[in-house]
Amino acid sequence: MGLPNASGDLSTEVEVDAFRRLFPLRFFEKHLLESIRPDARPLGRARDTTIALGAVASANGSALAKIGSTTMLAAIKMEVMAPSIEIPDEGCIAIDFHMPPICSPIVRPGRPAEAAPVVAKQLSDTILSSGMINLKELSLVSGKAAWMAYLDIYCLDADGALFDAALLAAVAAFSHLEIPVVSLNDDGKIVLSEEQGLSDREPVNKEKRKVNLGSIPFSLTCILHKNYILADPTAEEESIMETSVTVVLDSSSQLVSLYKPGGAVLAYTSAIQDCIALTRQRVKELQKILEEAISGMEVD
């Protein structure tokens, strides 16, 4: 039989699309030899990224992030709750990541995606350990009331690099977040004040304020295949070449996470240094895109 022979004979006769489906690895390797990928990107370049803030009007903070075709919608709702007894002056953030069936043909209502709880946990770890949000800022009345921020991220289109897009959407949603005004009513309970200037209620916080963000984490996923490093893979690339490395750096170049979950290709020091260098470049790009999106909102 001899598969290599078969593809050698067919490659001159078969159409490009059929060759792509029948021999995906050979199709990609032919491109990698020319240092390019099927969508004409050079190996180290990420796809076009856009951020739209305020996508969900009813949420306290929201953002829609797109990296290539991968689309993530993040929304934050704030609720007042009693803080825990051990840490009475800190609020809380609950992060959840959903992959509804709309995002990919592999996900069906009865068959949830395997990647969803893993990405949710990764996001939660990254955001909480990066020190972006100081939980003490979310406190209202020490020991009695504090903010609970529910961050929900929905994947609307899963085309590779899910963690990168989800992290970007989460960070953008936090930068858009405005904490609502609340006041203490007669029963000692916190209520949302709709208008200001009610005589018998003293607002706990004077005006809607934005959260102060510490060092913001940005990430880049790279695929290792033989000696090549491909930045920002699409879903097709991820399914063919399975070894991926996700590097999360924050704006002060500290390493928040270096995640390589197994994979046939071993990562040597030089490969890791290359991935970190690519991530540093990407952090600068993403910082610029985020700043443009924020200043675009403020102009409105």
């Binding site: 592999i106 395997e114 709880p117 893993v118 949710a120 946990k121 990764q122 939660s124 770890d125 350990s129 990066s130 020190g131 399975e242 070894t243 490395v245 924050d250 170049s253 500290q254 390493l255 928040v256 996470s257 270096l258 995640y259 390589k260 979950p261 197994g262 994979g263 046939a264 071993l266 990562a267 040597y268 020091t269 030089s270 890791i272 970190i276």
Partner: protein, 242 residues
Amino acid sequence: MEVDREDGRSQNQLRPLACSRSILHRAHGSASWSQGDTKVLAAVYGPRAGTKKNENPEKACIEVIWKPKTGQIGKLEKEYEMILKRTLQSICILTVNPNTTTSVMIQVVNDDGALLPSAINAACMALVDAGIPMRHLAVAICCCVARSGLVILDPTKLEEQKMKAFAYLVFPNSVHSVLPKGPPSVQGEPIENGIITSFTHGTMSVDDYFYCLERGRAASTKLSDFLRRNLQQQPTNSSKAG
């Protein structure tokens, strides 16, 4: 720079290791691995016929089920299952038994720090006990970075929680080559320097991470020697599968 560790170990010292294989009689392969007080039990059933729906039938499939000591299965367990599955997929030779499923069950007996590395070591030994064909072994180690930049190996749970960051690293085992020209190397580095898996938690500088890698590699050589001695002493009973 000396550091005071509660159990009196030096910064590079590992806890006492203990490993026994073939402890479960009905499983095709089993191993119990303990590092200090952390103890994990691994059992391997397989290869069994058929693969799951989304998996490639031209290769063998590995399925991991992680059972915590107490509590319900949540996102943490799912994440550990995925990391373990992908690590084991990269060390097993998947083309030998296509269209089969090998199940690896991990039961946490006690968690006192470095849980995931212990589980990876236990799973690897259980796979050897079951006779699953592998390219090389996976040797897992946990490195913690203190606020001062000091790296300590094999932390206990208290140490893991106090430190600013930790990294779980998995390397292939060290090679004792019988070839006269020495072991093969890739890009000028020996094969055992490559990382199979890396999982970090907490913020550290890039230099701290590379320092962890160095320490991890040195420790993995010691662990590889332990595995080699253990495997040579206790020959596997090969009459279990099927």
